[in-house]
Amino acid sequence: MPQTLFDKIWEAHEVAESLLYIDLHLVHEVTSPQAFESLRLAGRPVRRPDRTLATADHNVPTDGSTAAAQIRDRLSRVQVETLEGNCREFGVPAYSIGSAHQGIVHVIGPELGVTQPGMTIVCGDSHTSTHGAFGALAFGIGTSEVEHVLATQTLQQRKPKSMRIRYEGELGYGVTAKDLILGTIGRIGVAGGVGHVIEYAGPAVEGLSMEGRMTVCNMTIEGGGRAGMIAPDETTFEWVAGREAAPDPLPLDEWRALRTDEGAAFDSEVVIDAGELSPQVTWGTTPGMVTDVTAAVPEPRDQGEQRALAYMALVAGTPIQEIRLDRVFIGSCTNSRIGDLREAAEVVRGRRVASSVDAMVVPGSQQVKAQAEAEGLDEVFRAAGFDWRSAGCSMCLGMNPDIAAPGERVASTSNRNFEGRQGRGARSHLVSPKMAAAAAIEGHFVDIRGWE
């Protein structure tokens, strides 16, 4: 019987019915301390430290601090030190603050080559769906499940349903992976993927770089999906080859078989015309409240949208391009990889950030930072007036000193525009790196396609 990519990976990892073997468990400081504490109380070891990898990202200041002791916020410092202590005690390898491998957990996994096609990957973080870009089955879990995986290397999991989102046509000039996924969430809704593992397919997806594919899979959770995945191909293999943890040679026969068979059935299918997508900008407080950059803030259709417009201090009918900004944030597990930074740098090269805007770039990892600096991108950003920071989650969620002030309006390349997400009372608009960069220069949103 023909199988989907998801079926194949599921079947290869089923230890028993609804008990899934986990090939890689990524760990960070926020969702793991209670799990380690429970293990300690129960006298249980970590079953497979060699399949576990930790980093510090959410609490890390992006000011270049090189040790947990330098974190001024006491609770943040304790959380990072707790991670370091737990990893030492249980034998789990950790790249904490100060390590050349430190970075956002969903950036360093692929970068080190520990994210590979055909794997099962979990992490106590909803954006674990990112790793599906490599043709892995990857999803977020809660702290009780983190403890379960640490103790057993398995997860109790009923098999989710499957969905395929097939894109017809190709993305137009200036339209990026971020616009593709924002446009998709706008169409299926923020709960459109609940209960499903989503496979993204079609020429528009095959044409994306690995960075772009990670952006798409990353935001699967914003459409409610359990996991997002893309069949691995030559782009994938080329990206993985030569990375520190990558097999040498790559098992290409095995990896090439990781695709959905002709005639395999999905529980649901969605078709979207990629060619009709424009650059996207969110106007509300869920990622599904999104529209074209050429459009205007829509009329609210229900109480939730009314509430969102009030929070965002926006009036229906206002053209998106007239929305003025206080801040621009380029970073996060959605858009902080070298490809994202190159795209943004190309837009700002030789230009100046608007005087009314405070703009920052936060590379996703120390390695991305080093690469960008080797290419001179830091100079491009600095010369334009951007603040060039060190690696971490930064202003995506404000658990560290990078926080927007109440009432400030932010163009952000991150993944969530929820109320208060980037700081209490802060108003977030999600966009692509190119769109964020252009908005920083102009002080308001512009259509990157018509911009000089």
Partner: protein, 187 residues
């Protein structure tokens, strides 16, 4: 985990859809390394709004797609610590739903019209064994995965249950485990 069978009492109402876990427990409270004490920070920002009224009843009734966004188990911890024992909604986000079942906070899915009626009724009795919610003189059935229901009813420790299958995990690792990557051999 304490066994869960009956949750009965007054109903608190939060009639909003797509309530995300950033609202349930904002990020500044995720820095604690303990599992307890999150209840006082529940809906921290919303609770400052005029007219906010969410008493600590046994049952919370709310809108579609409750618990979307971040995987933080701190959200169910906060709801449970605040006093809720069950949450009734037309739908839940996947990770949030799973997290609730791991700590004995009972998530109940009912059709939207029934949730509205339950909100109006103000009192309900949820029977997990019978898979039924009684309110306003009616009994409304609900669906729940039989294995999840069993674990909640018996108050089982998930890890303990899985370790009963340690032999199967050993066999998987011996016969089918992939060769790498090996995280402990990275530089």
């Amino acid at each position: 985990m304490e066994p869960v069978r009956i949750v009965e009492g007054q109903v608190s109402v939060l009639d909003r859809s797509d309530v995300d876990t950033d609202q349930i427990i904002p990020k500044q409270f995720l820095k604690r390394v303990e599992r307890t004490g999150f209840g006082e920070f529940l809906f921290y920002d919303w609770a400052k709004e005029p007219g906010w009224d969410l008493p600590a009843n046994p049952i919370l009734a709310t809108g579609r797609n409750f618990g979307s966004g971040s995987s933080r188990e701190h959200a169910p911890w906060a709801l449970e610590d605040y006093g809720f024992r069950a949450i009734v909604a037309p739908s839940f986000a996947d990770i949030f739903y799973s997290n609730c079942t791991k700590i004995g906070l009972l998530p109940v899915v009912l059709p939207e019209t029934d949730v509205k009626e339950l909100m109006a009724a103000g009192h309900a009795r949820i029977d997990l064994e019978e898979q039924e919610v009684a309110f306003a003189g009616r009994q409304v059935p609900f669906e729940i995965d039989p294995e999840i229901a069993r674990r909640l009813l018996e108050g089982l420790d998930d890890i303990g249950v899985t370790l009963q299958q340690a032999g199967a995990i050993d066999a998987y690792e011996a016969e089918r485990e992939r060769a790498g990557p090996v995280t402990t051999s990275l530089a």
